[in-house]
Amino acid sequence: MKQSMNVMIVGVGGQGTLLASRLLGAVFLKEGFDVKVSEVHGMSQRGGSVVTYVKAGEKVASPIIERGEADIILAFEQLEAARWLPYLKKGGRVIANTQKTDPMPVVIGAAQYPEGVLEATTAAGAELTAVDALSLAVEAGSPKAVNVVLMGVMARFLGVEYDVVKQAVADTVPEKFREMNLKALQLGFEAR
């Protein structure tokens, strides 16, 4: 891994972003880095835009990632990738689930879900990896495994051995869902 790594995990409340941030924190810890993981609980969890920060390095001071500082933005939903793009470092990578979830202003017709969201992130200068994580999660056995699929996709870009990520997933998820989650991770890792 590089000397430091800042990862933002963004999505919609209820999609399982917290579990993904904990998994990633465990991975960096195993690699021997200082780690900080920052979460927001409470009101915004109810279907709102949610963001967690995972930072690793020799010594991490601030628990949050600011504009222009993220190496990777892992977006569980397309629009959230675009919303948080100003936080990406120049030359940074967006890993996006192609799933779309209409926010309430769109649902009630007060706003439009914009067209060409992912194209716009690359036009702005981001490297992009887009994956239909929901289909892969369903293939693995549960639509709830979207978070683990996306962890698998991200494993290619972390600069750590895949087995370390695999072990972190195996250690974190309950026994009866282990096989399904490891399959989800593998499908994400192999997705191109």
Binding site: V12, G14, R22, G25, A26, L29, D34, V35, K36, V37, S38, E39, V40, H41, G42, M43, S44, Q45, R46, G47, G48, S49, V60, A61, S62, P63, I64, E66, R67, G68, E69, L79, A82, R83, L85, P86, Y87, L88, K90, T101, D102, P103, M104, P105, V106, V107, I108, G109, A110, A111, Q112, P114, G116, V117, A120, A123, A124, G125, A126, L134
Partner: protein, 576 residues
């Protein structure tokens, strides 16, 4: 071995290691997990109290009785607990008493952005502020040492970024502590004028002793960098922002004790630097202290009193440096939080809107009923205010208004401080209607048990408050329960009760759909041939329903089959 630990979990670990015996709290983001983690340690008695005042009093009593005790709350909870705290400052403790308060700069999950350091100053108690999880653990243990050494309550000040971030912590074993003797000492513990007058003098002297201690205490730490021209005085999360933004370009005075503040330590530090900044979130408390003692610092004129700070803001304001960023030129619609699919509150708010009632609201998930498309809340102030404010509105505007208005309040919030408002309505001949949104849990803070649920913090069965009997006992004769999933029954119950010339308590009873024991149904489906695209089903603001190509669609991954939308559809297009 070092482990990654949430700030709140590290506080709980600190309680365990410090030999704490009694923990009593009321949940409140971002403080809630402290007590949840504390409850996992069998060596400590832990409980959810009905509100923060009760929690603080339980902890104070336990401290008088010779045990180390604790309570946690969010910043606004300290307003509720202020009454016991301000006088416990006079009595002092016996066993150590620590109160953790979590501020929420940026208001991620709060109704205001108050700075709880003002309470420490006004109550004249010591306040410590950790800057990461390791300090959460260390300062919690130190707080007990200081509490017993200076005979004072000690406040541990947290904030969202400290409570809800994970960083590395090294744990130690618990040190069991014997109960201290509980002597009969009315001069110290019975606060009536003759005794309290004497204690006030003791408290002023104690503050002077703690201020002297703060001059040399190790947790007021100076971090010097050779050649740095800038000096920064800061504490808590702000210290981390400064270190990240300024690194070795500045030297730091990191204050671990934020009340009382040292004078000479600050003066000597400041004298070494050409330019000294105070970096603190919310109010300029350290800055005002510095200026009162003739130390020239720059603070709020750069940073202002609003919201959270960050490494970016520090770098921009102090160094004039900004990072390169990128953005799309898309118009990105906001994504505010919404009531969950299947939330039992949804039908109630839809009904209130359709009956065109004015709604006095309260604190909980259901405050989201204020947002579009439900748009059915007129006011929301603090825990319990829905009931009493409704009474005030009705007394101001008269009987006709009372028949066109309701209060809505959750089960936990009703027990916290809604019941006293209901007593006021009954006692003072009000005719208002109060609706308890009883989802059988404290929802917004992440599912804590409360006195109405019939379970303790350990999920052990216990007595449950009988809301119907309670309302009757305080003088409410019209008490009625309805199922909020049944729109017709909800409408009938609410319309009939508001029309009465007497006060009513309605209970909308259905458990939170996210509770494990709630069995949800399969997702509903739209029959595209029948759907006429009228958009009626969109009026309940369910995140699972959306409109594509003039036909409604239901998201199979999130719909829980509650059936409220099916009752909206006039053409029978929604089915299993």
């Amino acid at each position: 071995m070092k482990q990654l630990m949430l700030g709140n979990e590290a506080v709980a670990r600190g309680l365990y290691e410090a030999g704490v015996k009694v923990v009593s709290s009321y949940p409140g983001t971002p403080s809630t997990e402290i007590t949840e983690f504390a409850a996992k340690y069998e060596e400590m008695y832990s409980e959810w109290a009905p509100n923060e005042k009760v929690a603080a009093e339980v902890a104070i009593g336990a401290a008088f009785a010779g045990a180390r005790s604790f309570c946690a709350m969010k910043h606004v909870g300290l307003n509720v607990a202020a009454d016991p705290l301000y006088t416990a400052a006079y009595t002092g403790v016996n066993g150590g008493f620590v109160l953790a308060v979590a501020d929420d700069p940026g208001m991620h999950s709060s109704q205001n952005e108050q700075d709880s350091r003002h309470h420490a100053i006004a109550a004249k108690v010591m306040m410590l502020e950790p800057a990461d999880s390791a300090e959460c653990l260390q300062f919690t243990k130190l707080a007990y040492e200081y509490s017993e050494r200076f005979d004072t309550p000690v406040i541990l000040r947290l904030s969202t970024r400290i409570s809800h971030s994970r960083s590395l912590v090294e744990v130690s074993p618990r040190e069991e502590r014997e109960l201290k003797e509980f002597a009969h000492d009315p001069g110290k513990y019975v606060m009536m004028p003759a005794m309290a007058i004497k204690r006030h003098a003791v408290i002023e002297e104690r503050q002077r002793s703690i201020a002297a201690f703060a001059e040399t205490a190790e947790i007021n730490r100076v971090v010097e960098h050779a050649g740095a021209a800038i000096g920064v005085i800061t504490s808590g999360a702000c210290y981390q922002y400064c270190v990240e933004a300024l690194g070795a370009r500045a030297s730091y005075l990191k204050l671990g004790i934020v009340n009382p503040l040292p004078v000479e330590l600050i003066r000597n530090f400041a004298a070494k630097y050409e330019k000294v900044y105070v970096v603190e979130e919310l109010d300029g408390i350290i800055e005002t202290h510095c200026k009162a003692h003739g130390v020239d610092v720059t603070g709020k004129e750069l940073f202002g009193p609003l919201g959270e700070l960050s490494q970016r803001i520090v770098a921009e304001k102090i160094l004039g440096e900004a990072k390169e960023t990128m953005a799309t030129d898309l118009a990105i619609p906001g994504r505010p939080p919404a009531l969950c699919p299947g939330c039992p509150h949804r039908g109630v708010f839809y009904t209130l809107k359709s009956l065109k009632l004015r709604v006095s609201g309260d604190i909980g998930c259901y405050t989201l009923g204020a947002l579009s498309p439900l748009d059915s809340m007129d006011s929301c102030v603090c825990m319990g205010a829905s009931v009493s404010a409704l009474h005030g509105m009705a007394k101001a505007r008269g009987e006709e208004f009372a028949k066109q208005s309701v209060a809505v309040i959750g089960d936990s919030t009703f027990i916290h401080s809604g019941i006293t408002g209901l007593i006021d309505i009954a006692y003072n001949k009000g005719i208002s209607t109060v609706i308890v949104l009883d989802n059988s849990i404290t929802g917004m803070t992440g599912h804590q048990q409360n006195p109405t649920t019939g379970y303790t913090i350990h999920n052990d069965p216990t007595v449950a408050v009988d809301l119907e009997a309670l309302a009757k006992a305080v003088g409410i004769r019209n008490v009625r329960v309805f199922d909020p999933y049944d729109l017709a029954a909800s409408k009938q119950a609410i319309a009939e009760e508001v029309a009465k010339e007497e006060p009513s308590l309605l209970i909308a009873r259905r458990p939170c759909v996210l509770l494990k024991q709630v069995k949800t149904k399969p997702a509903l489906k739209i029959n595209k041939d029948k759907c006429v695209g009228c958009g009626l089903c969109m009026k309940i603001g369910c995140p699972s329903i959306s409109m594509k190509d003039k036909k409604a669609g239901i998201d199979f991954t999130t719909c829980v089959g509650c059936g409220v939308c099916r009752q909206m559809c006039k053409v029978g297009a929604i089915g299993d």
